[in-house]
């Protein structure tokens, strides 16, 4: 017992200050990309050629954009772009209500519109979610688990992952949706009582990510559940727990501050060129 108390004392308070205070991110963390099409060199397709997941759109034009839903945030495009037309900021806010809005063409923060008043009344103070991994590599699953640990402590917001779809208000899906998990995913969705939310987490669920084009996967959640609209897309490979929390809390209308609340250097991308990148 004494040892237990001593350890407890040594570890101290573990829960992060965010969202009331700033969150801590490593200097090299790659969050929302800032796109500057005006810097594009004519005829240059270096970013496209470097991207492992075909996330770049309209290279060498005013339409340059990055599909954060397909992006693994590896930073290879930034590395390849001498003109700095693509720069990863440290802004962890990546989630969006629509798939289209994940395609980023400028330097605006992502804004998640809250649910309507009725849904907010139902879920705003208590949201129970069921998770299904449909080909997720255990990266997104690990970060979703981390949202529940003492540091990120999801349950302080009244949000919880539950064991049964029958106890859930919504489904969180990870993975590109494998052929072999399709039936189980449909059955789990059916078992969640309406009204219910559908949330896609990670590059795979948003677009297929690294597995896009696999002959046995669906390229993500879009269209897998017939007639069902995805309520929230949370990109990343995997998304940081703060990215997940930020998306969920804004969906519920629980976060209204506009600044990203980061410790240290703030959102700005590290100096030019990014340190450490070789």
């Amino acid at each position: 017992m004494k040892g237990l108390l001593r350890t407890r004392f040594h570890l101290g308070h573990q829960t992060i200050a965010w969202p009331d205070g700033p969150a801590r991110f490593p200097e090299r963390f790659r969050g929302r990309p800032a796109i500057h099409p005006e810097r594009c060199a004519e005829g240059c397709h270096d970013c496209e050629a470097a991207c492992p997941t075909e996330a770049i759109r309209g290279a060498a034009s005013k339409a340059l954009a990055l599909d954060t839903g397909a992006c693994t945030f590896c930073g290879l495009c930034e590395e390849a772009c001498a003109a700095r037309a693509i720069v990863f900021t440290r802004d962890p806010r990546l989630a969006s209500r629509t798939r289209e809005a994940l395609v980023v063409g400028g330097d605006e923060p992502q804004r998640v519109a809250a649910l309507d008043a009725r849904m907010r009344r139902l879920f705003g103070r208590s949201l129970k979610l069921r998770q299904v991994s449909a080909g997720g590599c255990n990266g997104c699953e690990a970060e979703l688990n981390a949202t529940g640990n003492v540091q990120f402590d999801l349950s302080r917001f009244g949000i919880q992952f539950v064991a049964s779809p029958r106890h859930a208000d919504g489904l969180v899906v990870t993975g590109p949706v494998t052929e072999n998990m399709r039936a189980a995913l449909l059955a789990t969705w059916e078992a969640v009582p309406a009204p219910k939310l559908l949330i896609a987490v990670g590059a795979c669920a948003c677009s297929g990510g690294p597995l896009a084009g696999s002959p046995v996967c669906a390229d993500g959640l879009a269209g897998v559940l017939p007639g069902v609209v995805v309520d929230l897309w949370i990109p990343g490979c995997p998304p940081h727990p703060v990215t997940v929390l930020d998306g969920l809390l804004r969906l519920l209308g629980r976060l209204e501050h506009d600044e990203p609340r980061l410790e240290g250097a703030g959102v700005a991308a590290p100096a030019d060129p990014p340190p450490g990148v070789t």
Binding site: S133, E141, L144, V277
Partner: protein
């Protein structure tokens, strides 16, 4: 090992033509003799053979851990091969995989079922009378059943009660008592090997990092070393040390996290909470290195993409040293608590002989007394001088598996500290030339779960003709099934977590 195989070292490339092509009978005999004499099956796989339609080249990679050598041999099979699974249980899943991927039926296999419910590779006719066009139905096969009064069956999955990957578990029980557990996987199958085929492409590293998202550095390193071998270059020393440090950080994150999860499974909340938080120190250390908490984007063929200044490395080492003293405290509570011992001691036992026959690898094998650790038995720089200790426990229970992980985490913490404080000078990366054609390489890395084996063969154009991946989980799932025999079904979550195997790594 007999001379009817080519002997190579880990990561050493060789001519594909140098692999002996034995008649099927002789191949089987050499294989069975070697395994009976103590060799481990690191890989066993097919690929279409040029000699004619329907012919399948079957290659086996045997690891001789005592001598640190790998033996490679092959044969050409038609529609079937006599099964060796009864004699060498370590081969049983490989034989089923070969049948599923290439239609080579293992005649006399004691439990002939699909492995992943995947479509055949290379146009082979699928056995089990499955039509190539019909959507696959995972788990849709008979399960081993025990009959008798009051015997009942418990089916769990594919969707489980936590945030975990899917798989199906079928228990044959009498009350709480488990007679038999059968594990049916394949739900996570994403056609990984098929997608890697024809590479290297700009997606290769990203794909390899996704084989198992908790073993990003391990698989990326195995792949990078294979490609470096095929290109005839060795990564610079600085890169070798940085990525070995990352591999140990990955081991630390998972071992520390799982000690917490084991504590959670027996309801011992202090260690569950503390280790859950301490795990983040190791994930964040990986993010300090490369921006991603799981080490994505760090390891590339030729070296690493991110370097550390001496000052940054020392700061990181200081923080990790502080974290390790907290881990010792938090884990100490777990191992000192009698109520924990009551749940973990003697639970889910797997004896040394069974573990050896099944071909177990990693901490699960070491907890049963097997001396397998690629960092020690098939080392590459900087492990050649790392003095990785081999295990000293044999009890093979949940306690042993937890204890082994704390012991090796302690050693990993020491290695990371040493390496970060004394990074060798030089470049962190070199450019790789094109891969040599018609070569083969076997690349082994000791991931946190155990051996990761990548076998890469190039064709005439220097592109991947076959990219075979064997994750540690492929060897170890059978160990979990066996460890559950005679246990209480309520101890399954605890036993499962003590192995903590990858579904994706198995399903590919």
């Amino acid at each position: 090992m007999p001379s009817r195989m080519i002997l190579v070292a880990n990561g050493q490339p060789f001519d594909a033509a140098a692999v002996p092509r034995l008649p099927a009978g002789e191949f089987q005999q050499v294989l069975a003799d070697a395994v009976t004499a103590g060799a481990r099956v690191a890989a066993y796989f097919g690929q279409p053979d040029g000699d004619g339609p329907g012919a399948v080249r079957v290659t086996a990679v045997l690891a001789n851990d005592a001598e640190g050598r790998l033996g490679v041999l092959s044969t050409v099979a038609g529609e079937s091969l006599p099964s060796l699974a009864e004699e060498c249980p370590a081969l049983q899943l490989f034989e089923r995989e070969l049948a599923e991927q290439f239609g080579v039926v293992p005649l006399g296999h004691p439990w002939f079922k699909p492995v992943r419910f995947e479509h055949p590779l290379g146009g082979a006719h699928p056995p089990w009378n499955r039509s190539p066009s019909r959507p696959t139905l995972p788990g849709d096969t008979p399960f081993f059943a025990v009959s008798g009064e009051e015997v009942h069956e418990v089916a769990v999955g594919p969707v489980h009660a936590g945030i975990i990957e899917p798989g199906h578990f079928r228990f044959q029980c009498h009350g709480e008592h488990v007679f038999h557990l059968e594990i049916s996987l394949g739900y996570q199958h994403r056609a990984m090997e098929r997608l890697l085929q024809g590479g290297p492409t700009r997606r290769t590293t990203t794909l390899v990092e996704s084989i198992a998202g908790d073993t990003v550095v391990g698989h990326a390193l195995a792949s990078a070393r294979a490609l470096e071998g095929l290109a005839g270059r060795e990564a610079p020393r600085r890169a070798a040390v940085l990525r070995a440090a990352a591999l140990e950080l990955e081991r630390l994150a998972n071992h520390v996290g799982d000690l917490g999860a084991l504590a959670g499974d027996v309801g011992y909340l202090p260690t569950a909470s503390f280790c859950g938080a301490l795990r983040a120190d190791y994930l964040n250390a990986l993010a300090e290195l490369c921006g991603n908490r799981f080490g994505r984007g760090l390891v590339v063929p030729g070296g690493v993409r991110f370097d550390l200044t001496a000052a940054a490395a020392a700061r990181l080492a200081d923080r990790l040293a502080e974290a390790w003293t907290r881990v010792e405290e938090a884990a100490g509570l777990f191992f000192d608590s009698p109520s924990v011992g009551n749940r973990t001691d003697g639970t889910g036992q797997l004896d040394e002989a069974s573990a050896a026959r099944l071909g177990l690898v990693g901490p699960a094998a070491r907890a049963s007394g097997l001396k397998v650790d690629q960092r020690r038995t098939h080392p590459f720089a900087p492990y050649t001088t790392a003095h990785v200790p081999l295990p000293t426990v044999t009890s093979g229970d949940v306690h042993a598996r937890a204890w082994v992980r704390l012991e090796e985490a302690r050693h990993s913490a020491g290695l990371v500290d040493r390496w970060l404080r004394d990074l060798p000078p030089g470049e962190p990366r070199l450019d790789l030339p094109a891969l040599s054609p018609r070569r083969l390489v076997v690349s082994l890395v000791e991931g946190w779960r155990g051996e990761l084996c990548h076998v890469v063969a190039t064709g005439d154009d220097g592109r991947f003709l076959r990219y075979k991946v064997v994750d540690a989980s492929f060897h170890n799932w059978a160990g979990l099934a066996l460890a559950m025999r005679g246990e209480q079904i309520s101890d399954f979550p605890l036993c499962n977590k003590s192995f903590n195997l990858s579904y994706c790594g198995h399903d590919l």
